[in-house]
Subunit: 236 residues, 2 copies
């Protein structure tokens, strides 16, 4: 459209719009008016297990409590000292899978695709907590065994957001955004991260280890959340 | 620019351009005028080793020849029956890494990032054959040991193209394209695949296992090569 635009005189409205665009860009770059309310943190969720209180007692004994090994980035959540073995259908085993706390209503095993291959389980990509038509596995703890009939998933990549983040990016809970990761030789756009928003939630993207390794996340030079909108010119 | 465009009368040239665009899109979708000369094949390169003729003899004995286990998609290339052990700096080991044939001028070990973590080697992303400032490793075969001082890399993702593919996509050898992989819950755009063109080369993208697992390549529903051009409206 360059030729069309340049062959006509600009109106006062056109000029105002251009000036406004330039100012908005300037302030955004200078960390001014439109700067982010929170830093964008991208973390890898290594394979882990969530347990129901009942399963915790079966695996670790009557009255067992999860003990904090390390606080996670989201307030109130932690990696526990406890681990369990996850056993697949052909008796392949992941011997030490970390339990995350606190306990939940239903137990869930979150694995990367590579883990699924080594266990012999075809993993469905699911939002946390959505267990219909998902495979199970056997969990083995020091005091007992639990046979899960469902709940083994590859967690769908997602971004946690608080109210200020929703406003800044102009999105709503349950919508989706893309994550672009700049990394030497392996720059990648992960499309359609699910937005999971809550009042006291910190801005944080969760990828799995396959995704993190595909982009060498530790050495990434830039990360951006991008709203999945077609360029304006496509609407013409 | 929608408003600007709609507030003026269309010239004959504008209308012709719109009609041409619609026809081109129609024929592309219908597999007509602009259909691909070759199917887009995306393969995962699992970890492997290339050997120089000298190193082949050290590892497998005087006069050793690579034997074909399986032909690869590109004519003349093959996975050999031979494997070697790759030993990292802390004596961590990958016990059976496949050798690819035929032999090359310089030996090279191509690993996924995940392999690098298990070996304790920080892998640089490199185009095949570019070995300056790359780490080495020890190769162990049934008849001997080779200490590589360089040549251990994560191969830069790339696309092989023949002349008809270059023409179809409007690109040149050494340029870059994006690969978009549609896959349930893990659709991803891998940016900047290096184009490696040659006369008798088949159209084929090579990803590593981390990239392939990140998108569950086996279950992918669509793959597209995309020319990395900013949308036309960005130029205004």
């Amino acid at each position: 459209m360059t030729q069309l635009a340049s062959s006509r005189a600009y109106s006062r409205g056109d000029v105002e719009r251009v000036v406004r665009d330039v100012l908005v860009k300037h302030f955004a770059w200078a960390g001014g008016a439109r700067s982010k309310p929170n830093p964008l943190v991208v973390n890898i969720s290594a394979r882990h297990v969530h347990l129901s209180p009942e399963h915790l007692e079966v695996l670790f004994g009557k009255g067992a409590q999860l003990e904090v090994q390390k606080e996670l980035y989201q307030t109130g959540f932690f990696a526990a000292k406890q681990t369990v073995a996850v056993v697949g259908p052909r008796r392949k085993i992941l011997p030490e899978v970390r339990v995350l706390g606190p306990c939940r209503g239903a137990s869930q095993v979150e694995l990367a695709f590579t883990d699924g291959i080594s266990l012999g389980i075809e993993l469905p990509v699911r939002c946390s907590g959505v267990h219909h038509d998902t495979p199970g596995a056997v969990l083995v703890g020091p005091k007992g065994v639990v046979e899960l009939t469902a709940g083994v998933i590859r967690a769908e990549r997602h971004v946690h957001m608080g109210p200020a983040d929703l406003e800044y990016y102009g999105v709503k809970d349950g919508e989706r955004m893309h994550l672009r990761v700049e990394s030497r030789g392996c720059t990648t756009v992960f499309e359609d991260l699910l937005i999971r928003a809550g009042k006291n939630i910190k801005l944080e993207v969760h990828l799995d280890t396959d995704e993190g390794n595909a982009v060498n996340l530790e050495r990434a030079t830039r990360v951006d959340l991008v709203k999945p909108e077609p360029c304006a010119c496509r609407h013409q």
